[in-house]
Symmetry: C2
Subunit: 480 residues, 2 copies
C-alpha cells in the first residue's frame, strides 16, 4: 500500500519549487520529457501488448503525445496564458484613488490526474492533462489506468529521469496505482485540482468526492458524449458516398473507442442508405477492444440496442477471445426519428465501441428543437451541409442551438481525430465534461490549472517576475 | 408563490436573444441601466431606511454600482474578453492536416445571482455579479436579499425599464424573492450558472445543491475571509501611528461588515500598542448593523471571543434597539501567537462586524509556516513592511506562501475599499470563494459567465460575428 500522505507531501514540496521555474526552464523540462518518450523503442510494443491497439495507431499516438508536450513548451515560452494585467495608479479615479494592482494567473497547486484507457499515451501518464498541468507550473500525481500498468510505469520512469536530468525534482511527476489510493489523494488537502477521462458513472462519483471535500476543489472530468451528426438532403445529393465512407471510418476507427465517435447520424428519410452503409462497414477489419471490462460494457450496450426493435443495417460482430478481450466489427442500426424519440431513454446514451445509430428524419423536421429535447451536452456536433445550405436561416438556427449544447461544431470532416492547436476545444456541457469552462485538448487546456493572484502596491522585488516592470521573462503585459 | 418554471423559461428565452446582441447594443443596455440608477433619487433613501448604512456610504456605493456597469460596457466594447483564437489550416501539420478551427468564449446561459446584504447596491440586484453576467451576454435572475426588499424591487424596476427602452427584453433581468424559490431555480435545468455572496454555511448548502444537480453547474460563491495583516517591527517603527489609525479605520468602516475587513493584525510582541489602539477605536462613532440577524450573529461571535480569555484592548459596544438592530463601536482584543494557536478552533473564523484580533508574535517567528497552519484560503493578506524589509528573503518567502492562500496580497493601504479595475482580484481559495478561478470584482469578473465554443471548417456566414474574417464587431482576433 502506497503511503498516500507521503505522495501528497512530496507533490506539494516539488510544486513549491516547480511553480516558480522560469519559462525556459519549464519549457526545457517539457521538451526533455517529449524527447525521452520519442527516443524510447519500448513504449509502442508495450502499449500494443496491453491495449490491443495497432502499431500504426500507437506510433501516431506517441507522436501526438510528444507533439503536445512541445506545444505546451511553446505556450509556456509565449507567456500570454498568464493574462498579466497591470493597473497603474490613478489619483482621481471616479470611485476613489486607484492603487497599483498587478494580476496574473498562478499555478493552482498539485494536480491529481486520472489516466484514461483509450489513449494509453496521449491521455495517460504524460498525456494532455499532465502536460497542461506541468506547463501551468503544477506538480502532478497520475493515477495509472489499470488497463496498461506496465506502460504507465515505463512512461513515468522515462519522464522522471528526464525531469531529473533537466534539474527538476522527480517528484514533480509521481505515479500511483489503485482506485482506493487515488480516492484518498482526491480527498487530500494538499491536492488542489483533479482531471479525469472516463465513464459518466465513475466521473460522477469522483466529481462528487471533489465537491464534497471540506474544501471543494475543481474537478475536470471528461465523461460521455454521443456527438450527433446532421446530414442535409442537399449534402447527401452533393457527396453521399464520401459522407457514408467518412461516417463509417469515424465510427470504426480505434474500434469506436473514442470520445468523439459519432453516435448518431441524422439523415433525411427515404434515402435508402442501408446498402452503402453495409458495404462501407464490410470493409472494416476486425479490431480488438481495449480490455475485458470495455468488452463486457460494449456487449451489453449493443445487445440492449439490438433488442430495442431498431432496424439492423450492418450487424457487425463481437468475438470474445480466451483472455476475455472482444474483437469487433462495426454495428450500424437505423431508426425513424419518431422511434428514437419514443425510445430515447433506451437509445440515447453512449455506446463505447464501434456502434452507431442512423436516424431518419422527415422533411420539414425542426431539428433545432428536436436535438435540444433529445440530447444533453456533447463534446461535438457536426452539420454536413450542401452547397446552398449555409444561407438557410433554418440551418443558422440549428447551428446556434447546437453551439449552446456542445464545445465544438463541425461543418466538414468528422469529430474524431481532434487536432492539438491553440483554438481547439474539447469539452462541453454535462455530461460531456463536468465543467465546461475548459478544454482538455489544445494549448488552452493550461487554463484549467491556474488561478488569479493580484499584488497591490507591491515593491518591485517582491513581485513574481511576470508582474515586474523590468519583465525579466519577457511575457506579454497588458497595461491599463 | 412565483411560478419558478415560468421565470426560468422567460430567462432562457430572453437569453437566446441577448446572447447574440452586438457589443454596442449590449454596452448601451449596461450604460442605460447605469444612467437610470444614477438619475433616481429614491435609491439612497430607500437603502438608508432598509440597511442603516449612512447616506455618504450609500451615495458612494451607488457611484460604484453605476461605475462598474459602465466599466463592463467598456469591457464588452473592447472584446478582448472573448479570447478569439483562429487556427488557419495547415496541410503538413506534424500530427496530420490541421483544419480551420475558431474558438471564442460564449455566454454560458441564464445566471442565478443571490444578492448580498452588505452592499445593497454594489453586490445586489444590479451589483457586480449581475453586471458581469449581463456583460457576458447572459440573462440574469436575481434572488433579492430579504434585508432590503423594497430597494431590490425599485432597482429591478428601474433596470427593466431601462432595458426595455434600449430595445432589450425586460426578462433579461428578473427578480425573485424567497429562499425556496431561489433553491428551486438553482435546481432548474435552464439555469446554467449561479453566483452568491454570503455566509460559509449558506454558501456551502447552495454550492452542494449546484454540484448535486443531475447536470452540475458552476457556482461562484464568495463566503468567508479573515484577511490577516502582518506588520513588521520596522514598519511599526517607521509609521506606527499611521498603521494603527489605518487598521482601526479598516476594521470599523461600514461597521466592519465588509468581506475584506482585517480580522487579524499580527504585530511584534512587546510593542505596547493597546493605548494607541484604544484611542483610535474611541474616535469611531456608533454605527448600526445591517439587520437583526447580523446583529445576533455578531453578538454571539463577539461573546465567544471575549469569553475565550483574550486580552481586552477596546471593549466596544453592541446596543440593540427596539427593532432588534444592533448599534456598535469597534471591539479590539489581543492574544499572543501561542495563545491563538492553542485556541485556533475558537478564534480563527470570521466575525462579521467591527471586531478584530491583534496577535503578538515573538521575534524570529516563522510567519510563513505559522500562517499556513492557522488559516485556510482568504480573499486578501496584507504585509506592512518597513524601509528595508522588501530585500529580506524571509519576507519574500512569507509573501510567496501568502500568495498561495489568497487572491490578493497588499503591501500598503488596507484590504477594504476594493477598487474596480482590470487587474483587481476578489476571490481566493476555499472558504474565501467556492471556486478560486474567478473574481467577483473588476472587469475580469466577466469570465465566470463564459464558456468556450469552437467552430471547425465553418462557412463564414454560419460563424458568430467575432470569428468571421470580416470581423464585423472589430474584436481582437489572435491568429495562429
Amino acid at each position: 500500500m502506497t503511503d498516500i500522505d507521503h505522495v501528497a507531501r512530496r507533490a506539494a514540496e516539488a510544486h513549491r519549487e516547480f511553480a516558480r521555474t522560469a519559462p525556459r526552464v519549464r519549457a526545457r523540462a517539457l521538451t526533455a520529457i517529449a524527447d525521452a518518450l520519442a527516443a524510447d523503442d519500448r513504449l509502442v510494443p508495450t502499449a500494443m501488448d496491453e491495449t490491443g491497439l495497432s502499431e500504426a495507431r500507437l506510433t501516431g499516438e506517441l507522436k501526438r503525445t510528444t507533439f503536445q508536450l512541445k506545444e505546451f513548451a511553446d505556450t509556456v515560452l509565449d507567456g500570454g496564458y498568464l493574462d498579466v494585467r497591470i493597473d497603474s495608479p490613478v489619483a482621481d479615479y471616479p470611485i476613489g484613488p486607484r492603487p497599483d494592482v498587478r494580476r496574473y494567473l498562478a499555478p493552482v497547486g498539485p494536480v491529481l490526474n486520472f489516466a484514461a484507457s483509450n489513449f494509453p499515451l496521449a491521455f495517460s501518464v504524460l498525456g494532455g492533462d499532465t502536460a497542461a498541468a506541468l506547463a501551468a507550473g503544477c506538480s502532478v500525481v497520475v493515477k495509472a489506468h489499470p488497463g496498461h500498468p506496465a506502460l504507465s510505469d515505463l512512461t513515468a520512469e522515462l519522464a522522471r529521469a528526464a525531469l531529473d536530468e533537466a534539474g527538476i525534482s522527480r517528484d514533480t511527476l509521481q505515479l500511483v496505482h489503485g482506485q482506493d489510493e487515488a480516492v484518498e489523494l482526491l480527498k487530500h488537502p494538499l491536492i488542489r485540482a483533479a482531471s479525469f477521462t472516463g465513464s459518466v458513472r465513475a466521473g460522477r462519483v469522483l466529481a462528487n468526492i471533489a465537491a464534497g471535500r471540506p474544501d471543494p476543489i475543481p474537478f475536470f472530468g471528461e465523461l460521455g458524449s454521443v456527438n450527433p451528426v446532421v446530414v442535409t438532403a442537399s449534402a447527401l445529393a452533393d457527396r453521399g458516398d464520401e459522407l457514408i465512407t467518412g461516417y463509417v471510418g469515424s465510427v470504426s476507427g480505434s474500434a469506436g473507442q473514442l470520445c468523439t465517435k459519432p453516435g448518431f447520424l441524422f439523415v433525411p428519410d427515404g434515402e435508402q442508405l442501408d446498402e452503402s452503409l453495409r458495404s462501407a462497414a464490410a470493409e472494416v477489419t476486425e479490431h480488438r477492444l481495449l480490455n475485458p471490462q470495455i468488452t463486457d460494457g460494449y456487449r451489453q450496450r449493443r445487445q440492449t440496442i439490438l433488442d430495442s426493435g431498431v432496424r439492423l443495417v450492418s450487424e457487425g460482430s463481437v468475438r470474445v477471445d480466451e483472455s476475455g478481450n472482444g474483437w469487433v466489427t462495426p454495428t450500424l442500426v437505423a431508426v425513424s426519428l419518431e422511434e428514437l424519440i419514443a425510445k430515447a431513454d433506451l437509445l440515447r446514451d453512449e455506446a463505447f465501441g464501434p456502434l452507431s445509430i442512423v436516424v431518419e428524419y422527415p422533411d420539414g423536421t425542426d431539428l433545432a428543437a428536436t436535438l435540444d429535447d433529445l440530447f444533453q451536452g456533447n463534446l461535438t456536433a457536426t452539420v454536413q451541409l450542401g452547397p446552398d445550405d449555409a444561407a438557410d436561416p433554418v440551418v443558422a438556427e440549428l447551428v446556434h442551438h447546437l453551439s449552446e449544447r456542445v464545445g465544438r461544431v463541425l461543418f466538414a470532416g468528422w469529430p474524431t481525430g481532434v487536432s492539438v492547436t491553440p483554438a481547439m476545444q474539447h469539452g462541453g456541457p454535462w455530461p460531456a465534461t463536468t465543467n465546461d469552462s475548459g478544454t482538455s485538448v489544445g494549448s488552452a487546456a493550461i487554463s484549467r490549472f491556474l488561478r488569479p493572484v493580484a499584488y497591490q502596491s507591491a515593491p518591485q522585488q517582491l513581485l513574481p517576475p511576470p508582474l515586474r516592470d523590468d519583465n525579466p521573462w519577457g511575457v506579454p503585459q497588458q497595461r491599463h
